[in-house]
Assembly symmetry: C2
Homo-oligomer: 333 residues x 2
């Protein structure tokens, strides 16, 4: 019998469609890629070393022996631009604001073919440190309300350039989707005097069956009401509202669990396309009792169709407990 | 300069990314399909006449000269099933309901290759009459809260069977996404004593530049804050909260405008994959002042990526005014 499950934090419902269910191994890529192996350097890639002049001027970098390890540049085709005021104009159905904001590209490595699952921990630490730096830089702009850090890996996940990179978009508005999640978290706190994410972490660890990896300060699991197959959350166990409130010590551990979970997905599902995104409290970094940042990984192993677009409710054809067991057992030694 | 636009009804923000903007004609399919033309009859298709025994038992049909024109069957791999109670169980992070509901397939034509843009008006009227019948049948079940009628056309829109069909999923829960839209519509009514959709219809018609087709009782346009290229809404001008409150006379006109707009999309964009969905007030059909049903068409000409998944905010790389002008000018004579 199919199940309807509700995520206690987001209050989103998902249909776990057991009639359509597939085994975890059914999600590995059917058709092996016919492509040539990707080279370590690509002469026309604007993100490769030596081609820095093809890209806009760098806003940040981490260097070692005078060579950049991670490099940040403004997006050449920005969704939002830094110049202009964020005044809101509205008259009838016309509700408008200049498209002001920040849109940067985080080049994760000088190597054209080095994806996170194959990186050293040290390199992933560089990336996370860069995320923190760019988040803090963006949110210091008075016009910015929301910072979204995300990564698109693979064509069906929306990548246009192959060289490994993440993006940051900082916007002067908070979309309904985010606002609703904040409101749900506040409501839960009002009713329970506990952060709903802290509760999830506690119960997921105690139930154990959806855990992929648990470390001293972090836990990665497939939520009870995961909206798609292998949809994974990584949370700090400590209550941290905003991502940049992460400590240097926590960055090291977070980079390790992120690398390891992406490696399990890479090996277990044969390098699927995926997105990940960091969800963090909008606005300035500040203490609060109700919201808790996390990273969400969405492997693109199924397609969304009219039902999802129309209802906002997802159909997940994989049982979270089975998917988690599968990833838990993928060896990454 | 990019623009931030907000939909007055849904309150969703969209980024109109003019830096990335493409002309309407850039969205037509680049690679022509290499496939053989689809035959009118496919021997192994469970939806083709003569193969009725391959499919579950019919729940409804429209017949002419004893041959079915439109036929409805339960989905063979249902997301939700009719048997069982909709009792809600919750303890901690476990929030659960049996996956009860209705999931039917509406076979739109006996012909394996006859898609809506190429149908006669008469056949599309049969389909809309069937939609109304199945909606009313589903909502008469005491457990049902939400009825979603939708169509997936093409592989990237999530179709698995080629024979033209739509689907109906009736669920015992109302997802957050829908509830938020209802709340926004109520709030607008409270503030203005007018239905926000009626206002949109009025202003879109008076501004004119985003209209695709206007008929006596319906209007089809690309909303001011359309979330993706060629995203189109068709609304009745009369205030009708629930879809099945449509009259027989209105069905005729609605079928015509739907067919014509899909034909313009088919010709103008070279048969793109698309979804459409009917958005209607949850619960029993009843009069109210604030909600207004509509049909939303989403051509799948771009991909959603990590930013959209993370923020719930969309980036539209086409200017709604240009897209509407383009479709308005596609000749369908």
């Amino acid at each position: 019998m199919p199940q309807l499950r509700q995520n206690i934090a987001t209050k989103e419902w998902v249909i776990i469609a057991t009639e359509r269910a597939r085994r975890p191994e059914d999600f590995t890529k059917k058709e092996k890629s016919q492509k040539e192996p990707t080279p370590e350097y690509s002469p026309n890639c604007p993100f490769c070393p030596g081609n820095e002049h093809l890209a806009p001027v760098e806003t940040f970098s981490i260097r070692k022996n005078n060579e950049w390890q991670v490099r940040v540049i403004p997006n050449k085709f920005p969704a939002l631009v830094p110049e202009g005021s964020s005044e809101f104009y509205h008259r009838g159905i016309i509700r408008y604001m200049n498209g002001v904001g920040i849109h940067e590209v985080i080049i994760e490595t000088p190597k054209h073919n080095l994806i996170i699952p194959q990186m050293s921990y040290e390199q992933v630490i560089n990336i996370i440190q860069t995320y923190k730096n760019r988040y803090l830089s963006a949110i210091s702009d008075e016009r910015i309300e929301l910072v979204t850090l995300f990564k698109n890996h693979g064509e069906s996940a929306g990548t246009s350039l192959e060289h490994p990179h993440s993006q940051i978009i900082a916007s002067p508005v908070v979309p309904q989707h985010i606002r609703n999640r904040i409101e749900e978290a506040m409501r839960y706190y009002d009713d329970n005097r506990e952060c709903v994410f802290c509760r999830m972490v506690r119960e997921e660890i105690s139930q154990g069956e959806r855990i992929i990896i648990e470390t001293k300060n972090f836990v990665g699991f497939i939520p009870y009401a995961a909206s798609s197959p292998f949809h994974t959350w990584i949370l700090p166990k400590r209550h941290i509202p905003s991502f940049p409130m992460i400590t240097e010590e926590e960055i090291v551990e977070f980079a390790q669990i992120l690398r390891d979970i992406l490696l399990k997905i890479y090996k277990g599902l044969d390098n699927p396309d995926f997105n990940y995104v960091i969800r963090s409290l909008p606005g300035k970094c500040r203490e609060n009792d109700f919201f808790h940042w996390y990273l969400s990984i969405i492997p693109r192993v199924t397609k969304t169709a009219g039902f999802e677009l129309g209802s906002g409710m997802f159909i997940n054809i994989a049982l979270p407990e089975e998917s988690a067991k599968f990833l838990r057992e993928v060896s990454i030694k």
